[in-house]
């Protein structure tokens, strides 16, 4: 059932699992648990639709490099940030899970094979088909062409509202804002929720999951550590640290000669000009190339200019560097049939200094707002430069076309552009997964170190981000967590209990 938190609502006396947050992770997890017969309390701080009073809880401050306002970089109502998601889907690469020459810290304690069993189910949840398999670019030993799937995109709140309403085991409570945990004997006994009129309910469960989005899960864990004098996954001091994005910037322009269109790797016929994802070609490095050049993962996007604008675009390119392009085009006697922009989104180095801290101001529920400290490093600039040079050399060496790279990319003394995409709205890390408490916040099962029945679902557990958009990995992790919880909960599958005042 779906019910607002009012004085008329009474939760069951006990649930198998209490999930904080009804976005992609929380909803996928709740439905998977209910399908196994588990009882689930699913708390959504917002309403069915956007409200300003809910969204205000997401306001915060950014310190460091330019970044988006935190109040608009995510959504706080049923369905969470899927409500303004673009729908890009891709699983992480096998080498994303392994230690890197450029940064040993950028590794997971699990492997791709641990998530692979959940790939098909994640596609069903996200309403996508499997993408074309990656393939090496012809004539290259360093670059591969990679593919994404395109979700409608799935708005989890509307797409799964009927399923949530129907599921006997799920109580989805709206306007139900998490305000704290109640502990005992190193375990969590209950979670406390409040609506906007200060009506409060206490929910008891066997296991608790923070699934409220990367920054919000960090905020709650930081606040609970302050309130409960530490101990919640912060043995290594990692709560809030190693936060990551996918830096996303334009790298240059390219043009292609006509004789390689039609059957080649960059064929206009392969593009869907009306789609949001597949109107581009994507190139990524092999793991050998990443090791040799000491970079992290990087997805280069070749975005063709549409046919109607092609001549003007090429003319502007020629005017911009006539000494190079006029003799090049005239001397080769070649027409240009395709030209466009080179962009990239890449894996950011996980750094302890990139972190979330608590501010002095609080939201409507007395929980401190956040300060996000985000600065890009030398490695964060080397990664796109090495990849862009590799792509440009490939174009030239194979006589496929030519690429011009932007000055900031080739000259470290120039500042980062400030009028570009900046990042992907992909919040990752802050409660990173690790093999031991000294290195992270949750273990390989997403369990908070030191607290046997507290878990985190969502991209805050990512210890390394690859270049792929994170949503499919978030859903894979949530489905895996559902299996783990179902298998390890000591209580047998429960039946729906009558309402009780005991939990008030």
């Amino acid at each position: 059932m779906i019910v607002p938190l009012t004085s008329a609502f009474t939760p069951r006396s006990h649930y198998d699992v209490c999930i904080v947050g009804a976005g992609p992770a929380g909803i996928a997890l709740a439905l998977a648990l209910a399908a196994r017969g588990r009882s689930v309390f699913l708390a959504e701080g917002g309403d069915r639709e956007f409200t300003g009073r809910s969204q205000d809880c997401y306001e915060g401050t950014v310190v460091g490099d330019p970044y988006f306002p935190l109040g608009s970089a995510r959504m706080r109502f049923l369905g969470g940030t899927s409500n303004h998601w673009g729908g890009w889907c891709r699983t992480l690469d096998r080498h994303d899970f392994l230690p890197k020459a450029a940064c040993e810290r950028a590794q997971w304690p699990i492997r791709l094979d641990d998530l692979a069993p959940y790939e098909a189910e994640s596609r069903r949840v996200l309403e996508i088909t499997a993408p074309k398999p990656d393939s090496m670019l012809p004539g290259s030993t360093t670059l591969k062409q990679v593919y994404f799937s395109q979700s409608p995109p799935t708005r989890f709140g509307t797409r799964y509202a009927a399923d949530l309403e129907r599921a006997e085991g799920i109580d989805l409570c709206l306007n139900c804002n998490f305000t704290g945990l109640r502990t005992g004997d190193e375990t969590i006994r209950a979670a406390v929720f409040r609506n906007y009129d200060r009506v409060e309910r206490v929910v008891a469960a066997s296991a608790f999951v923070l699934a409220c989005g990367c920054l919000e899960s960090i905020r709650f864990l930081l606040h609970e550590n302050r309130r409960l004098n530490g101990g919640l996954g912060n043995q290594g001091g990692a709560v809030g640290r190693y936060w990551m994005e996918h830096p996303t910037f334009g790298l240059g322009e390219f043009f292609l000669y006509p004789n390689f269109l039609g059957g080649g790797p960059f064929d206009n016929a392969d593009l869907d000009p009306h789609g949001s994802v597949n109107r581009r070609w994507f190139v990524a490095p092999t793991s050998d190339f990443m090791t040799r050049t000491s970079i992290l993962n990087c997805g280069v996007r070749l975005e063709p200019v549409m046919r109607d604008d092609l001549h003007r675009f090429v003319a502007d390119l020629v005017c911009g560097s006539p000494g190079v392009l006029q003799p090049l085009l005239a001397g080769l006697g070649k027409d240009v049939r395709c030209a466009g922009h080179l962009h990239a989104a890449w894996e950011e180095e996980p750094k302890a200094e990139n972190r979330v801290t608590l501010d002095t101001g609080t939201d409507a529920f007395g929980i401190p707002r956040i300060v996000l400290h985000w600065t890009k490093s030398a490695l964060d600039r080397r990664t796109p430069r090495e990849m862009a040079l590799a792509v440009a050399r490939y174009f030239a060496q194979q006589d496929l076309g030519r690429v011009r790279l932007l000055p900031w990319l080739l000259d470290d003394s120039q500042p980062w552009p400030t009028d570009d995409e900046l990042a992907g709205y992909h919040h990752m890390g802050g409660t990173r997964m690790a093999a031991r408490p000294a290195d992270g916040v949750v273990d390989a099962d997403c369990r908070v170190f030191g607290t046997p029945n507290l878990f985190i679902a969502g991209s805050s557990v990512f210890p390394a981000g690859g270049h792929a958009n994170p949503t499919q990995t978030i859903v894979q992790l949530a489905l895996r967590l559902a299996d783990h919880l179902h298998d390890t909960l000591s209580t047998p599958v429960s039946t729906a209990e009558p309402a009780s005042d005991a939990s008030r």
């Binding site: 004789n259 080769l332 060496q397």
Partner: protein, 74 residues
């Protein structure tokens, strides 16, 4: 009468006689060659590239040497 500077082109730059002839010859050559059923390789692979005004070019690209600065090949 003072000659005014030609306007900025709105499409491709005006072709020279040489580039038109080369273009016709290139097109004729392309049309004369059989189209491969699938992508089968490239015309003239070359391992050396150089960096000119941000452009990553081949060593044999017809760009005046004065424009060259730095090498992009490794």
């Amino acid at each position: 009468m003072r000659q005014t500077r030609p306007p900025r082109p709105s499409g491709f730059p005006s072709p020279t006689r040489r580039s038109v002839l080369l273009g016709i010859a290139g097109t004729a050559l392309t049309l004369a060659l059989p189209m491969p059923p699938a992508f089968a390789g490239f015309a003239r692979p070359s391992g050396t590239t150089r960096l000119v005004e941000g452009w990553v070019l081949r060593a044999d690209d017809p760009v005046p040497p004065a424009h060259g600065r730095g090498a992009a090949g490794r």
